[in-house]
Symmetry: C2
Subunit: 186 residues, 2 copies
Amino acid sequence: MKLQVDGRKARGDKRRAEIIEATLRVIERDGVAGVTHRIVAAEAGVPTTSTTYHFSSLDDLLIATLISCARDMATEVYWMIDRARSRGSRGAEEVAGLLSEALGPRRGRTMAEYELYLLAARKPELRPAARRWLDVLTSMVRHDDEVAFRVFLAGIDGLLIQGLIDDEPPSAEELRPVVDYLMKPR
Amino acid sequence: MKLQVDGRKARGDKRRAEIIEATLRVIERDGVAGVTHRIVAAEAGVPTTSTTYHFSSLDDLLIATLISCARDMATEVYWMIDRARSRGSRGAEEVAGLLSEALGPRRGRTMAEYELYLLAARKPELRPAARRWLDVLTSMVRHDDEVAFRVFLAGIDGLLIQGLIDDEPPSAEELRPVVDYLMKPR
DNA sequence: TTTGTTTCGGGACGATCGTTCAGGTACTTT
DNA sequence: AAAGTACCTGAACGATCGTCCCGAAACAAA
């Protein structure tokens, strides 16, 4: 079993990845509504037909983008948890910082993620990918209290969504008491 | 100052309302992406030019729809709180029931609301309308604990969003322990 | 009735859309 | 070298899009 010696497939995979990255940039900038074959192709610097060749339809492209996005998010959270653990902290500070980053410098990315998330609500084939990052969290964090953990996850989502319609992103200091409350055992 | 004696304006307002209702139905069915002048006009049973006449652009139409939607939601929540109070309960049962309804029979409507919500993240002129229902809640519920209330609101949003990507909607019984935890004072 | 205002709606314009097709290129296998 | 496979891409098709134009109709004020 040889892996990836075919130069053609190698180039194909590379271009596929470039197209997915371009798609994510387009969603960050213009939203899911702004995703078209031509726009994505222009963003990626490839001819229009290249996107239709590698992704049989627009839906396929969006599905691939969501899957890639969910994987990135999962690994990112993985490292955050790892970082928090190595510091021996309970993570509230890390979480608050991550939230304020998600709502500030990375606001476009956060919007893109939730747009894809909502898309999964409409397209069942997207749901496994959308659920993945929840699953990753669930499997990583020890949950001595199942209910408390579900509340925590829901709270994070709610804070992010509500933070997206604020005129200016909340700071980590503003978020801190809410996150503390959310993570406080009882 | 006479109000609404002009039959022309009366008809115009009525048609405007019909177009907005049709728009909401289209969003429930096809999402914000499915909203076009022609589709909305067909749904409302009016000629295409009627939607462009009453709403100078598609954005205007979506803005009007979000505002109308937010108002409906606010009054609905108002009555729920009123109902819960008259029963003397703390509301956990009512909240769990409302959530399971929002994720079950009214799933399309819930998706539409969150899509419009996310649209507000991209279009600043939509944000006041999107924030309104949060404001209504904040003003109605006595908040002896500010932080706890923010956590509660975020938790509701998170539960709804996560429930939207479940393959089958959670029942009120499943939701109940989480809602209880969310509303439990400490 | 005449004049002015508001709503209505058929038709059309240019733009952009998703997708297809056929020919060409690059690479692997036989 | 020949055949086979995978990728690339310019051109084009039919459909749909937002929006505009302009005359007709309904209604109010004179």
